[in-house]
């Protein structure tokens, strides 16, 4: 919000298809010392979208809901 000027923004969000299950790419979970544990659980994009939209935008990322705590 601005006292002197009107602001216009146009945002274009791009995501996967609604039925895609988004999880860490398996190829990225392999390091020189072997397999690494994934940092996130997989979730269908549609479900994630609904989860995010049904929560208040309170500054917390919805990512906390799919994050796997490090052992």
């Amino acid at each position: 919000m601005n006292r002197k000027a009107t602001r216009i923004s146009i945002a274009m969000a791009h995501g996967p298809s609604l039925d895609s299950v988004v999880s860490p790419a398996p190829e990225l979970l392999v390091s020189s010392i072997g397999n690494e544990p994934a940092a996130y659980v997989g979730m269908k994009y549609k479900d994630y979208l609904e989860l995010q939209q049904s929560n208040k935008l309170d500054g917390k990322s919805c990512l906390d809901r799919v994050r796997i705590p490090a052992v």
Binding site: I8, S9, I10, G15
Partner: protein
């Protein structure tokens, strides 16, 4: 503006911006050491969800009292934002909110939650700015392994 014309322009804009986003994701795939088409294929971007969000913030005599847009991160892969030269967006950097200027003739590109998930944290929530006219195929992110967060400007 004629509504029909507006619809035609919005459709054309959506189509073209989608190509820019897919080009950027190709570069991101490669910078992660994957095939360029990896993200596109693995998550079926041909059928990808695209959302057009237009916001108007009129002049406000007491902006400190306005609610504006609450803090959030975007859900998908990439959000491409254009502004009319008037800034207002803030990003959280090291726990502090900082203003992001409105660079003319440029897209502000925000990475979303699912890019962080799919890259398993190698690409964290962040943003980049690209000047219009740059071929996105020439954009490459830094080495993701050392990249706790990326932020680059391409003019």
């Amino acid at each position: 503006m004629d509504l029909f014309l507006c619809s035609e322009i919005s459709l054309e804009y959506s189509r073209r911006v989608r190509e820019v986003a897919r080009g950027l994701l190709k570069g991101i795939s490669e910078s992660l050491g994957l095939e360029g088409s990896y993200i596109d294929k693995a998550l079926n971007l041909e059928q990808g969800k695209q959302i057009f969000i237009a916001n108007l913030y009129p002049t406000c005599p007491q902006p400190e009292l306005a609610m504006g847009m609450p803090p959030h991160s975007d859900h998908g892969f990439l959000t491409l934002l254009i502004q009319n030269g008037i800034g207002g967006l803030q990003i959280q950097h090291k726990g502090k909110w900082v203003d992001v200027g409105a660079l003319p003739n440029s897209f502000l590109v925000n990475t979303g939650d699912h890019l962080e998930v799919h890259s398993d944290f190698l690409v964290m929530l962040s943003f980049i700015t690209i000047r219009l006219g740059v071929d996105p195929r020439f954009l490459r992110l830094n080495n993701p392994v050392t990249n706790v967060k990326f932020l680059f400007f391409c003019y």
